[in-house]
């Protein structure tokens, strides 16, 4: 019996619709942004009218102390947010990975912050941080402590706290899922081998959760570089440039300063940074797979 040889082009035919949609929805705007970043472009002009300036936008940014400041704020924000969220999220997951009555309700409540629209989160925290009528300062006064200038002197810290409040649950649910998929019997074996609860966490649970945790941290890191709404609503980047993270600066460069070319160039810098992170994540995954494959191959050779 003979089977018909399928046309070699057939698989590509099936891919055409997806490729077309990708081209229109993704590649076109992206190309537009890259193209625009090489031009001195005002929103009142069409892109064709804008003057081509080569790498000028990139060079200007490279030497712009404000851009450096903004990049520094972004890096600090991302670093603190992700590391603190990881510690709290994983810690909570380790604590709540057990059968207690009503635990499912508790878990649902824990992930509520994630479901709230970022603008609402920003507004909520702005009111709570308000210097005179805000929840925090009113509480501090009622227990006889001095007020804190939350969104003034400590603006970056306050913004970081709000982000931690909103995004720790993300890490919590992923860490919990990782924990619950751990082999139960390995943990029982560890108990018989004499591991205390703490030793089980350090020697068994955390190492086994590590692949999930690394991917989770990278996802959060990418997200933290792009956060905009919450900070926009809470501080508008101020005071000074103290909370002006890159996404905010891009938006202001485009709308307030009307420099679309510079904004596009800044976006591309951010894009490159995120791309580097994504590639790092990808490489890490590939490295793990390759290692597993190598070991398996080694066994098969011997048997």
């Amino acid at each position: 019996m003979r089977t018909a040889m399928p046309n070699r082009l057939t698989p590509y035919m099936f891919m055409v619709p997806a490729v077309v949609i990708m081209a229109i929805a993704l590649m076109y705007p992206l190309g537009y942004m890259i193209w625009g970043s090489f031009r001195d472009w005002n929103p009142s002009q069409t892109i064709g009218e804008a003057e081509f300036v080569g790498l000028k936008n990139y060079i200007t940014l490279w030497n712009d102390p404000n851009f450096h400041e903004s990049l520094g704020v972004t890096l600090r924000f991302a670093f603190f947010v992700v590391s603190i969220e990881m510690v709290i999220g994983v810690g909570l997951a380790l604590l709540l990975d057990r059968d207690i009555r009503g635990i499912s309700v508790l878990r649902t409540m824990f992930i509520l912050p994630m479901m709230i629209a970022p603008v609402v989160v920003g507004l909520m925290w702005r009111y709570m941080y308000h210097p005179t009528v805000g929840t925090f300062n009113r509480f501090l006064e009622s227990v006889g402590l001095p007020r804190v200038d939350w969104l003034g002197d400590h603006a970056l810290m306050s913004v970081i706290i709000a982000d931690i409040w909103q995004w720790t649950p993300f890490i919590f649910i992923l860490a919990l899922a990782a924990l619950q998929s751990l082999p139960r019997s390995a943990l029982e074996a560890a108990r018989i081998d004499g591991a205390t609860a703490w030793q089980q966490i350090v020697h068994i649970k955390l190492p086994l959760m590590m692949p999930v945790l690394i991917v989770t941290a990278l996802l959060r890191l990418i997200d933290a570089f792009k956060v905009l709404e919450v900070i926009l609503v809470m501080t508008e980047g101020g005071p000074g440039l103290s909370t002006e993270i890159l996404a905010l600066r891009i938006s202001r460069t485009a709308t307030e300063f009307r420099e679309l070319g510079v904004a596009a160039a800044m976006s591309n810098y951010l894009l490159m940074l995120l791309l580097a992170l994504t590639v790092a994540m990808f490489v890490f995954n590939r490295w793990q797979e390759a290692r597993a494959a190598r070991l398996t191959a080694a066994v098969q050779e011997e048997t």
Binding site: P183, S185, A186, E188, A189, A190, R191, I192, D193, G194, A195, Q199, H203, I204, P207, L208, A292, L295, T296, A298, V299, T303
Partner: protein, 362 residues
């Protein structure tokens, strides 16, 4: 080595009681096998001894000290799990030495111990491997080595061979038997496989429905089962059961059923005669039936041969005797053809009688 004693051990999950008061004593250096069908409570019993399950009622004594409130690590025991329960992120050497490293033993002692047990189970060349890069049999050995390295007095096995293929299982069974002779430990072994139980055990404990049915040496259980469950569970192929009645014909005691009429002899006749109930189940092992054309009709069964399973030197014949199915083990050379009605002599020492109501042996 520590002695283990279970007193009225009860396990409840909510309102459901799954173990109904287990009493058991394990002697020094004894290989005890808990055997029974799925859900009989054997694994739960073992896990309670290990401290992985809470004790609902009753007490576990190790060396006459109650231990049911202690953590597993305080109980001086090692355990081999059904799925091996290796630590996937550690290599073989690290897996084996984990307990020793937690106990903060000196490095030189740990290394010596790892080499010793790895050599014992034949893993010396694989110490740097992770479990994911080992075959099933090798993982099984790692689990064994890890338990051995702990040097504890009690050794627990929870169906350790059930994830291996048949050939490897037989091989590992033999190695286990060898190992149990070499190391002086109290071993408790859980399995659903009665062959493992028969070959490994000093003492078998048959469990069913959360109760202990019978305990004793493999021979005792095979030759003198206390009830129909134990009789049917031990031995392969399983015992044949035929429903019948006891007839007293002027002093000669017969068991009569559809298709058979067998004269009981000696002790069997006396117990049957003394027994009040007339409805009994006759039990005969397939190996206690012998193909013999001219056998005495009072000492034989007339069977319709339906299927013959050739297994080499022996064949197992699936036959009918009235409404009952009967299996017979015969030499493969026996001239037996399917569809024939043949006479099989019954070995009178191999006749078992059970009360049909409570299924206890007479």
């Amino acid at each position: 080595m520590p002695t283990i004693r279970l007193e009225n051990l009860v396990k409840r999950y909510g309102n459901v009681e799954v173990l109904h008061g287990i009493n058991l004593e394990m002697a020094d250096n004894e290989f005890t096998v808990l055997v029974g069908p799925s859900g009989c409570g054997k694994s739960t019993t073992l896990r309670m001894i290990a401290g992985l399950e809470d004790v609902s009622d009753g007490e576990i004594f190790v060396d006459d000290k109650p231990v049911s409130h202690l953590e597993p690590k305080q109980r001086d025991l090692a355990m081999v799990f059904q799925d091996y329960a290796l630590y996937p992120h550690m290599n073989v050497a690290q897996n084996i030495s984990f307990a020793l490293r937690l106990a903060k033993r000196p490095k030189s002692e740990i290394n010596a111990k790892v080499r010793e047990v790895a050599d014992m189970v034949g893993l010396t060349d694989f110490l740097a491997r992770k479990p994911g890069a080992l075959s099933g049999g090798q993982r099984q050995r790692v689990a064994m080595a890890r338990a051995l390295a702990k040097d504890s007095g009690i050794f627990l096995f929870d169906e350790p061979l059930s994830n291996l293929d048949a050939k490897l299982r037989g091989q590992m069974r033999a190695e286990l038997a060898l190992m149990s002779q070499r190391v002086e430990k109290n071993m408790i072994y859980v399995t659903h496989d009665q062959i493992e139980a028969m070959t490994l055990a000093d003492r078998i404990v048959v469990m069913h429905g959360g109760h202990i049915q019978q305990q004793g040496t493999p021979e005792e259980l095979f030759k003198k089962p206390v009830n129909k469950f134990v009789a049917g569970f031990m031995g392969m192929p399983p015992m044949n059961f035929l429903d019948g009645e006891i007839h007293d014909r002027a002093g000669a005691i017969h068991v009569v059923g559809e298709g058979f009429d067998i004269l009981l002899e000696g002790e069997k006749a006396a117990t049957a005669k003394a027994h009040s109930a007339k409805d009994v189940t006759l039990g005969i092992r397939p190996s206690d039936l012998r193909f013999e054309e001219n056998a005495n009709p009072e000492q034989s069964l007339q069977l319709d041969v339906q299927v013959s399973e050739y297994v080499g030197a022996q064949s197992v014949l699936l036959c009918r005797c009235g409404p009952a199915r009967v299996m017979v083990e015969v030499n493969s050379e026996s001239p037996v053809a399917l569809g024939q009605s043949l006479t099989f002599a019954v070995n009178s020492a191999g006749v078992h009688l059970f009360d049909r109501k409570n299924e206890n042996a007479l």
